[in-house]
């Protein structure tokens, strides 16, 4: 019967294809009509022609299998290259509400869809994989699982995976280069046990791309996990540059665990790592640009660069990475003595952790902003720490931004945060919260130099985040004088304001811009209110008022 079906298909398919092409020519602005093939392929329909998905998979003539909306209770296996289209093929799974082709495992402890040797270049697109309790010997079986390979160029696209109570959503355990996982929605709300929602084992996954996925609610494990020896990079001939981009990783135990030395040579960008119990992203990537990600509200660290304690292997741990234009906010509050917005391991092979650089990030509202308790020097210059005064640190008197925790300045090494940005970095996925509307005015004198005085007068206003105003300042000792326009009010609370702008000045000041930090604690402000100003090469001049007052209205 199958042979007959194939023969008919071979005769009919060219005619259908020609008709489709003709229609396309007549209506070039419309999409090509979907080819509805007959039994035997190359395009096969479930359940119209095959009662089960596996039945179509078993027919080697079915190179494309379209599965209509409905529920399919079966455990399927792919042993050849095939395109397996669910009812929502091509439709982004994230937040999707539609008629689904839902596949539920008949044997709940066995993978819903198993990949075996021969399945390379297969595409799995537009399904809902629902339910299961994937408790294999390792305890990490998944709704989609490979058990033999290779699985090169596999594509897992636009699938919803949810409702399983044990194991992983996806567990890939065989070599496969250039695998693509895009626009899937993986929800571990019902999962028990410590399995990862998405698991790559130690096989070769060079050229792997994990893009635009939603991986959420795996609170008892990792949202994404990979471990191996640079087994996700581009070192294999024919492998692409790996990517981890555009994903939303939220409310997992650890958001993403990249292992001791698994990831390399590919960007990690445009992701959100949020509200994970431990770290948002942890591990030892190499030669990786980590950019434009949002690390928000993770219990321990937003980003933890680490070898997981190995100090003897120079290949392990984070090295030669560039961390730039990211936002680190609200991290560390679950583990106040351990976490940070970004943390650097003190237990990597000597010389490796300091090969990472951190520039042009916005780091504010964390507990603390950064942490490193080793003896190397981490280059973390030119970041915004939430205040124009820079981070809070023993060597930065007057700094009120996020704290930097290291061994400095008493011991060698630490986090080199100076110079810092005096306003938020651009090109990031976030901006500091807009200051509320309000005004601040002040006039008076502050101590400068030794026993000298500086006079200041200013008005500054924030109106829906738009700053305006003016500032005049005169150092009576040096004669430095600046006459400035307020362009930006970066913080305005009930007792503190920070503002900055552009200046004209005399030669003694030689400044084209300024930043000011003011505090309103009493009226009058003598010995209570604070005025500090930075201009030209002068940093944080001033202090508590000798006379005068500052008023935040």
């Amino acid at each position: 019967m199958q042979t007959f079906r194939r023969t008919v298909a071979l005769l009919i398919f060219p005619a259908i294809a020609w008709l489709g092409a003709a229609c396309e020519r007549e209506t070039p602005t419309e999409a090509a009509p979907r080819v509805e093939a007959t039994v035997g392929g190359p395009t096969c329909n479930v359940p119209a022609e095959y009662p089960t998905i596996q039945a179509a998979l078993n027919d080697a003539g079915c190179s494309t299998i379209n599965v209509a909306a409905g529920t399919y209770v079966e455990n399927d296996t792919i042993r050849r290259t095939v395109t397996l289209n669910g009812a929502q093929a091509g439709v982004d799974a994230r937040g999707r509400v539609a008629s689904e082709a839902t596949v539920t495992p008949l044997v709940v402890a066995t993978a819903t869809l198993t990949l075996q040797t021969g399945s390379r270049r297969s595409i799995i697109d537009g399904f809902t994989f629902l339910g299961g309790a994937f408790t294999g010997p390792s305890g990490h079986n998944g709704a989609i699982e490979s058990i033999t390979g290779p699985i090169d160029s596999l594509q897992i696209l636009n699938n919803r995976i949810r409702g399983f109570i044990a194991g992983s959503a996806v567990f890939l355990n065989d070599n496969g280069i250039n695998i693509t996982v895009d626009q899937n929605d993986i929800d571990g709300t019902t999962k028990l046990g410590n399995a990862d929602l998405f698991h790559l084992d130690q096989d070769n996954f060079d050229g792997f791309r994990f893009t635009n996925n939603r991986v959420v609610n795996g609170v008892t494990g990792n949202g994404f996990f990979v471990d191996g020896t640079r087994n996700v990079d581009k070192s294999t001939v024919g492998a692409r540059t790996p990517q981890f981009t555009g994903n939303f990783i939220d409310n997992n135990g650890t958001g993403v665990n990249l292992g001791r030395l698994a990831w390399g040579d590919g960007p990690i960008s445009g992701n959100t790592f949020s509200n994970n119990v431990f770290d948002g992203l942890q591990g030892g990537p190499k030669n990786t640009r980590i950019s434009q990600n949002s690390f928000d509200g993770n219990g321990r660290s937003g980003l933890a660069l680490t070898s997981f304690g190995n100090t003897t292997d120079p290949a392990r741990g984070a090295q030669n990475d560039t961390i730039t234009q990211n936002c680190f906010t609200g991290n560390g509050f679950g583990f106040p003595l351990l976490g940070a917005g970004i943390s650097f391991s003190a237990t990597q092979f000597p010389g490796t952790i300091s090969s990472n650089v951190v520039h042009q990030n916005n780091i504010f509202g964390n507990l603390p902003g950064a942490r490193y308790l080793g003896t190397e020097t981490i280059n973390a210059e030119l970041n915004w720490w939430g205040s124009s005064t820079g981070p809070t640190h023993p060597s930065n008197l007057g700094g009120t931004g996020d704290a930097v925790v290291d061994n400095g300045p008493l011991l060698p090494g630490g986090i080199d945060f100076d110079p810092w940005r005096t306003s938020a970095a651009g090109g990031t996925p976030c901006a500091p919260p807009a200051p509320p509307s309000g005004k601040v005015t002040g006039g008076g004198q502050v101590p400068v130099n030794t026993n000298g005085k500086g006079s200041f007068g200013f008005n500054a206003k924030s109106d829906g985040g738009v700053g305006s105003g003016h500032l005049n300042y005169l150092n009576h000792v040096t004669g430095a004088h600046i006459d400035c326009t307020v362009d930006l009010v970066t913080m305005l609370t009930t007792d503190t304001a920070e503002f900055s702008g552009t200046c004209t000045s005399n030669s003694a000041a030689n400044a084209t811009n300024f930043t000011a930090h003011v505090e309103d604690h009493a009226t009058p402000g003598k010995n209570e209110d604070v005025f500090r100003i930075s201009y030209g090469t002068v940093v944080n001049e001033g202090g508590k008022l000798i006379s005068g007052n500052i008023q935040i209205h």
Partner: protein, 156 residues
Amino acid sequence: MNRLGFASMAMLGLASLTAPAPAAAQDAGVTGAAEAAFPNGTAFNGVPLKGLTLGQGMFIAQDGSAAGQFQAVLLGTSLLGTPQNVTVEGEVRGGSVGADGSATFSGTATVDMGDGTLPLAGVPFAVTVSAGSLGLILNAVALPTATVTAGSITIK
């Protein structure tokens, strides 16, 4: 009546005379950090003055109200020939900006004569400033106009 001879009622009258409605739709701003020199012979409460330093910042609304600070140190010499600096710390409550680019504002201040006596609070003051000069009326005593010698005053 203290030795400064308060004349609050007179100052209130002065303030009302110097508070015309400005034409600008938005708040005007007055700021300054400067040094200024008095003409020879200037004195306040018997203290000869040679100049002052000032720091001021305020917003002036079109309805004549204002909010901000005026701080000045009047640089004087005591009868013994030693420096005696009079410190004025004022809260600005009203003001206006004139068509000529000057601004006038007023309020009450705390005045420390710098002679060891207790500072006096609630002293009325009024100030007229331009980019290069400052006229101070302190407790109904109009001091000669001081000329800015360093720093700047901004009205916009």
